[in-house]
């Protein structure tokens, strides 16, 4: 939802498809958004949002804190779209049509895009040569924001990385952590709620063994296609995705991210009763998922066909550098037991993209691991330690990326406090000569 103040300008910058060889000489147009209303051309900083796995216009709407701080810091805002997403497709509609073309979707190439764009802006925007740059990002974008500081310290003075689950992708976190974190989020609302979800899988398995059961499931979930034994995994994935997303995006007010999402999407309000019959429980699961999938109330039926709207680019990245092992056992977590099978994953990636996952590909320095945002299942992947100048803020009561959004009266106090600390840190970085804050 673009607000009145967000009058950014859309611009494009010519990038090399391959920054690291002279073999491929193709180039493409990277989209970026630029907002200068409050910028002090005589030394005001540049807040640079490192694009993540989405359209940059959608992303910019989630970064309200940058607009908020632009006023105080007299900052220029730049939102750079990540290559292979949104309108920044190196080979337009054919970007994913061959391994040669999609193969340039890597984190190092994306970081180099950002570095070149920063150089370009500092060179060509009058006054920007004196401006210090701070990167901003959340989630995968937060990883990139932090890596920009590691890779290009001469261009980037500091990074504000929110909920950047670097450790999830570096193999330092056990595969059961993420599902357990989601389960904990549901348990914290109601022990019975997590238990209901846990027992639902066997119930649905049993139903799926008969034609009548499959018919019931099809109707209960309002599936557009008739559910079959083959499509059962798609149903389970669809449900899991809903539980996961609602745990992540537990915002205190209505949002529009991937469609509308109401404030505090509490699946548990349908799932607290341990005495529900199997059929009632299934109907309750549908209601719970509908909070996410049908907040408008207009969906006639759901396409539960395995295509849950994950971008091809992201699927490719999880098949190359960003492998996040995940396993469930149905005991410590509320999900159907499933081992992490690295070979199966590799086989699927080979079939789909012609690549073998290579999570050890060179990325900027792996940092030491700790966790951070406590109300966000991504927190085990967070990083709390770093060089001396690193400030780590643990937000006890914040959903995924909440701190990056525009301040709101409904925000928990912990988030308001985290923003204040982050802002103070930024002041210190940007005014090194006034470093009397300690």
């Amino acid at each position: 939802m673009a607000t009145a103040e967000q009058k950014y300008r859309v611009a494009y910058f010519k990038q090399k498809v391959d920054h690291f060889s002279f073999s491929n000489r193709d180039s493409f147009r990277q989209r970026y958004l630029i907002y200068e209303d409050h910028w002090n051309k005589n030394g005001g900083p540049i807040f640079f949002c490192t694009g993540s796995e989405m359209n940059v216009e959608v992303l910019a709407n989630q970064m309200g804190i940058m607009y908020d701080w632009a006023v105080d810091f007299k900052a220029m805002l730049v939102f750079a779209e990540h290559r292979y997403y949104g309108d920044s497709l190196p080979y337009r509609e054919r970007s994913f049509s061959s391994r040669e073309r999609r193969g340039y979707l890597t984190t190092e190439q994306a970081l180099a895009d950002f570095a070149y764009l920063i150089q370009h802006i500092k060179k060509h925007a009058p006054g920007a040569d004196k401006s210090m740059v701070v990167t901003f990002g959340g989630g995968y974008g937060g990883m990139l924001a932090a890596w920009m500081r590691v890779r290009y310290p001469h261009l980037v003075k500091g990074a504000y990385a929110s909920s950047a689950p670097i450790a999830y992708y570096s193999g330092e976190v056990a595969c059961d952590k993420f599902p357990r974190a989601i389960t904990d989020s549901y348990k914290s609302q109601s022990q019975n709620c997590a238990a209901s979800i846990r027992r639902s899988w066997a119930i649905m398995d049993k139903m799926a063994a008969t034609d009548d059961g499959l018919k019931f499931l099809t109707e209960a979930f309002h599936s557009c296609q008739r559910l079959t034994t083959d499509s059962l995994p798609h149903l389970y994935q669809w449900l899991k995705e809903a539980y996961q997303t609602m745990a992540m995006l537990d915002y205190p007010y209505d949002t529009e991210l991937f469609g509308k999402l109401p404030a505090h999407p509490e699946a548990c309000r349908f799932l607290w009763n341990p005495l529900q019959t199997g059929e009632d429980l299934v109907r309750s699961l549908h209601k719970a998922a509908s909070i996410l999938y049908n907040s408008s109330g207009n969906a006639a039926c759901y396409s539960i066909d395995g295509n849950i709207g994950v971008h091809a680019g992201w699927l490719f990245q999880t098949c190359t550098e960003l492998v996040m092992p995940e396993c469930t056992n149905g005991a410590e977590d509320m999900f159907k037991p499933k081992k992490w099978d690295v070979r199966k994953h590799a086989k699927r990636c080979q079939q789909r993209f012609g690549v073998t996952p290579d999570p050890g590909r060179l990325k900027p320095v792996p940092l030491k691991t700790r966790r951070n945002n406590l109300r966000d299942p991504w927190y085990y992947g967070g990083v709390l330690s770093g060089p001396e100048s690193t400030t780590s803020i643990v937000v006890r009561n914040a959903a995924h990326l909440l701190d990056l959004r525009k301040p709101n009266d409904l925000d928990p106090v912990s988030v308001a406090w985290a923003r204040t600390r982050a802002k103070g840190t930024l002041w210190r970085w940007l005014t090194p000569k006034l470093n009397f804050f300690g």
Copy 2:
């Protein structure tokens, strides 16, 4: 000249041709030399020589200091060959046959090779996981050694970069510095010597205007081919190369680098007399160049045909990332006046390799500029400032890379002292808990 102690083992490591995309899946064998005679497997460091623009076996013979220090530090030595040189050709004999194949000769790819090789050794050599790594390199190899520390600080504890002319290639040094530094080297032997060389160009130009003159030049320089107006630039290049190399490699004892080179190759002993006739001067130039080109005394004639033995890989690198502007005016320097013509250079690179020079390609952080080794024409390109932990040593009396060679009684005191300081710095890096040296 391999000495008895240099009983290294030759090994190969499988590298990706392209570390930064998933488009090219080719791999090749990188050669490296490994020497473990003195290595303490329980924590002894790894001294890792970052290969430069030459065969790694030739390189290893110039790095005698590493063997010397291996004893005291109980270090493992590794000499890694740079991709596209020696026996580390990604596409064997076809490595330079198309832009697609040669295009992967970039500094970032070479640094990534070294990083993967370090990871491999630390993982597979029993005990090496505890070993700290220090990179060593000279000239271009010194640039790579320093960049390894910048790019991969989690793998590389420190770098010993000798005469690493980073600033020459980053556009920070004026184009006349290198020729002036060479001139200064000759002036320091005799003002008349530099003056003789300076006046020789016009004399040769005049000779080349007549057939008799060309015949005289052909005979005086013992050229295998008859010199013509067209080949005159080759003759001048051949002479300039000789002056330059002798200024760089002014070692106090005989060496074998690119053929034999006698101690203190003093071209000036033939060129001090300002009263020589033009013909005598030309004959003296031949004698001077012969110090370098015919130290064995066996050459019947010289091939002065423009092929002065520069490796195709190095030519490619000077046409892509490592552009070093050079200009002469015949006044402050002793060379034939020649402007730096960036467009002409670009045109030649386009014709020869199908590439346009791109010296602004992303390389690791550019450091601030100062000069260092004072008896080495590369010194204006050296870097003396850096992060706090940087130790910069200016060696007043050392030729190019002399400090990296095995200690010799004939070394100037300044070099012995520089080695002692460098060694002390290494001790500090490698024993951080005993950091009482300051």
